[in-house]
């Protein structure tokens, strides 16, 4: 039996330490009393920092056999493939001390998993294709309805209660870097007439406002006259958010700003005209909110983590009862909610949702109850797995093999967005991103990196080494550093610049 504690140091010792001993004792006792083949049992303990997440305190995951293993088993006369499968028990150390662990563990290790009832909302899929991303997209599309229901804006719902978008010192530093590049180009008479800056994911426009105010002020002070050549493009997935951002900046900088609705995963579809022209692409808190798969290396083999969104039976029954339907009807209703949004859902189903607010209550209840079941499926032939369009899974090989067994995010959405944004950069341009980023694969072994639930949206830390590899293969140096203008923040600054 293999036991792994993926837990930060401060949760293992010191004043914030969690007492893992009773948990491990219960695991060992349950293992002693159970019937599962212990040579095929893994126990993984995370300390999940997100109070809202997609896990129960304890869960069971099947590890499907790697093909060669199945062949060997067959040759050895062991035709029962399932017997060669392995199992992983996942425990959240933060919540596993509530007394229910012992009973659940015994249930799992007796092989009575059917007694833990769930209502599946989708088939098994790679993480990036789960309907949790449909919920995430719906949140940004119908943000105003969610905010109306909760009584607070999305920025207040972030863990720190605010983003770093209003940081003046950070804006000044970046603007000065641009001025230096433009001064050099101007000296060689190679400065374009229009100086393009792009912001992806504009939030409420505070970042743009602060940045443009500072730009204008610094330009006036230096007498460079760059402001009149500046073209600031704001791009966002949500027309509603974009409109808020526009309202924030147009009064002061309207003639320098354009806004575009675009898909962060495919910016060049909308911004093809900007190819090789953007001197700065600024991206804040976007990548950690884009779809991702997870892969795992277990016993030297690579696996894909497949997920299935479910509702615990008790939660499903309660929601269904409120609507006067059976729990089995929920998958269809969820699908309609994600397709139509709460406003239209109320319109087409007034018997179940008399008002839009009722549909939002349904939406929020689902979100609160949503869980993800997981299983491991062999990931064969990496070249057939696409990390993102144009990025083959082969890129993962050296990263996944750089250390021992590991489970990590593929950050497919971030990879797609990053890959499709780099061609927009001028040869001397810079892409700067503020986000939750893993900078070393080893960090996956010490902290839980998602998925966590924010208020209506999903958060996963971004796989920095993967983005660095993607950048490197495209001729960019990618660097990571702590956000210099606020101490104690988890947010890092990732920068990409052309090299050579």
């Amino acid at each position: 039996m293999y036991i792994e504690l993926r837990t930060p140091d401060e949760r293992m010792r010191g004043p914030k330490a969690v007492d893992a001993a009773p948990v491990l004792t219960e695991v060992l006792r349950a293992a002693r009393d159970g019937s599962v083949d212990l040579s095929r049992l893994r126990v993984v303990c995370d300390w999940i920092q997100y109070r809202q997440n997609f896990r129960d305190p304890i869960g069971l995951r099947l590890v499907e056999p790697w093909p060669l293993e199945a062949v060997r088993a067959s040759r050895n006369g062991d035709g029962e493939l399932a017997a060669r499968s392995a199992w992983e028990i996942a425990i959240d150390l933060r919540r596993a001390t509530d007394g229910s662990l012992d009973e659940l563990l015994h249930t799992l290790l007796r092989g009575e998993t059917d007694t833990i009832a769930r209502v599946p909302l989708e088939p098994w899929v790679p993480g990036s294709r789960s309907i949790i991303w449909g919920f995430n997209a719906l949140y940004w599309k119908a943000l105003s309805l969610w905010e109306q229901a909760t009584g607070r804006g999305y920025e207040q719902a972030l863990p720190g209660g605010k983003s770093d978008s209003r940081n003046v010192a950070a804006a000044q530093e970046l603007i000065q870097q641009l001025f230096d590049v433009w001064d050099r180009l101007a000296a060689r008479r190679a400065l374009p007439d229009e100086l393009h800056v792009l912001e992806l994911g504009v939030g409420n426009g505070n970042q743009a406002r602060v940045w443009l105010d500072e730009f204008q002020r610094m330009d006036q002070e230096s007498g460079r006259e760059y402001y009149r050549r500046l073209h600031y493009l704001m791009g966002d997935y949500s027309p509603h958010v974009l409109e808020l951002a526009r309202a924030n900046v147009t009064s002061a900088h309207g003639d320098r700003v354009s806004s575009l609705v675009l898909d962060a995963l495919r910016p060049t579809e909308t911004l093809g005209f900007l190819r090789y022209k953007a001197f700065l692409v600024y991206i804040s808190n976007v990548y950690d909110n884009l779809p991702t798969d997870e892969i795992a290396r277990i016993g030297g083999h690579l696996y894909q983590v497949q997920v299935r969104a479910v509702l615990p039976l008790a939660v499903a029954s309660e929601i269904a009862a409120r609507l006067g339907v059976g729990a089995g009807d929920l998958p269809d209703l969820v699908s309609r909610l994600l397709r139509l949004g709460p406003a239209l859902l109320a319109e087409v189903s007034p018997d179940r949702f008399p008002t839009v607010a009722d549909a939002v209550v349904f939406w929020r209840s689902l979100w609160e109850g949503l869980r993800l079941d997981e299983r491991y499926v062999p990931l064969e032939a990496l070249d057939t797995y696409d990390v993102a369009p144009g990025v083959s899974g082969e890129l993962l090989r050296p990263i996944a093999l750089s250390s021992g067994d590991v489970r990590m995010h593929v950050s497919n959405g971030a990879a797609a967005s990053f890959t499709d944004t780099l061609p927009l950069l001028h040869p001397l341009g810079i892409l700067q991103c503020h986000d939750l980023i893993v900078t070393d694969i080893g960090q996956y072994a010490t902290n839980f990196r998602g998925p966590g639930k924010y208020d209506g949206s999903v958060v996963n830390w971004v796989n920095g080494p993967l983005l660095a590899a993607i950048g490197s293969r495209r001729g960019f140096d990618v660097t990571f550093e702590a956000f210099a203008h606020r101490t104690g923040a988890n947010v890092l600054t990732m920068s990409a610049r052309a090299r050579d």
Binding site: S392, H426, D500
Partner: protein, 383 residues
């Protein structure tokens, strides 16, 4: 056209291949710039070599198989003057630096095969050591053994090589450039003697240093000193490392200083940036360089159509006579996936044939294998 250039042009068009075929005895000869598509699996093997997971001998066998396939692709696409696709090279610089005596490379392993080495010149290079050849002739011979068509062989120019070296030996950086030029001159002579139909000096970094054109041209002239036989070309683009430009601008910076270059042909990038710079050839008529006209954008995975290629060639024919035009991609195809690279070359050949037939009244190149599009061929949206 001067005697030299006329002679060079005729050389290109009538240069027999290894087995005596005159595959390019037509106007508007098509060619590649040098590199050909490097498939992902080949990148993996190359990286494995630079991380010492496979041997040099193993990698060499892989390269040879890949080169044979690249030659077959070019022939099938109807390219008149072919190359080995530069498939042996890790990148455009290190393949040369690692062979030049006196260049020190402390760490020969690489995370990714295409990365540049950190290279140093700590003492003046042994420029007069005739025994220290770089081994490029072997590459050329192998290529000629596997094709009947005339072969282009490209060399990265002394100026660009110097930009990737930390110079601790020469007080004047120009002296390092000229030292590289003298070393490459020996190699160029050997390549000419070994039957290269076209020698081409690539200066991928020059566009980023427009103030250094004089130095680069002097060095190019030194490399080509005493070379008789092959067509002498120079290729300048805006960079193609990782399929990205390193500089944006136009070819104004080359002129008029490039007129001093003792070369027969300028091979230039047009398809990506447009054809405004053709006006330079109207303005500067002497010497009458041949123009290697870029008609394929190698930084885009969108396929050109034969009609587009034909239109681009016709545009150039408004400025230059057909005797002074050859047709090629903007730059090397190394970053383009294999199936798209092949399709782009096919479009280039078919478009050029169209012009030969419609404008010049010449038959299509009979040396070309018929190419039929299958349903599995890319449409340009593959990426």
């Amino acid at each position: 056209m001067t005697d030299t250039a006329t002679s060079a042009a005729m050389t290109l068009r009538s240069q027999p291949g290894h087995n005596g075929n005159t595959a390019t005895a037509t106007l508007l000869a098509t060619s590649v710039v040098g590199s050909y598509s490097v498939p992902e699996w080949l990148e993996r093997f190359k990286t494995d070599y630079y991380q010492r997971r496979i041997s040099r001998a193993y990698l060499q066998e892989i390269h040879e198989v890949a080169i044979k396939a690249a030659l077959k692709d070019q022939e099938r696409a109807g390219v008149d003057v072919v190359s080995d696709g530069e498939l042996r090279r890790d990148n455009d610089v290190d393949y040369f630096l690692a062979r030049i005596p006196g260049v020190e490379i402390p760490h020969l392993a690489k995370t990714f095969y295409y990365d540049y080495y950190d290279a140093y010149v700590r003492n003046p290079l042994p420029v007069d050591d005739d025994s220290a050849m770089l081994g490029l002739v072997d590459d050329l011979r192998f290529t000629r053994d596997y094709t009947d068509r005339p072969v282009k062989f490209s060399i990265t120019g002394p100026f660009s090589l110097s930009r990737r070296v930390k110079n601790e030996a020469y007080a004047d950086p120009a002296d390092l450039v000229m030292a590289f030029a003298r070393i490459l001159n020996r190699e160029a002579r050997a390549l000419a003697a070994a039957g290269a139909a076209v020698l081409q000096i690539d200066e991928p970094f020059l566009a980023g240093y427009p103030e250094q054109v004089d130095l680069a041209i002097s060095a190019i002239n030194t490399v080509y000193e005493g070379i008789e036989g092959p067509l002498k070309a120079v290729h300048v683009c805006y960079g193609n490392r990782y399929a990205r430009p390193v500089w944006e601008g136009n070819y104004d910076f080359l002129f008029p200083r490039v007129l001093d270059a003792q070369v027969d042909q300028l091979v230039l990038e047009f398809a990506r940036k447009g054809y405004d710079d053709l006006a330079l050839f109207k303005r500067y008529t002497t010497p009458p360089f041949l123009l290697g006209l870029g008609v394929i954008d190698v930084k885009s995975l969108q396929l050109e159509t034969p009609d587009q290629v034909a239109a681009r060639v016709r545009k150039a024919l408004q400025v230059l006579p057909p005797e002074r035009l050859t047709v090629n991609p903007d730059c090397g195809l190394r970053h383009v996936p294999p199936e798209i690279a092949l399709a782009k070359l096919q479009a280039m050949s078919q478009g050029t044939d169209q012009v030969r037939r419609d404008v010049l009244g010449q038959p299509a190149n009979s040396s070309r294998e018929p190419v039929e599009r299958s349903e599995s061929q890319p449409t340009g949206n593959a990426a």
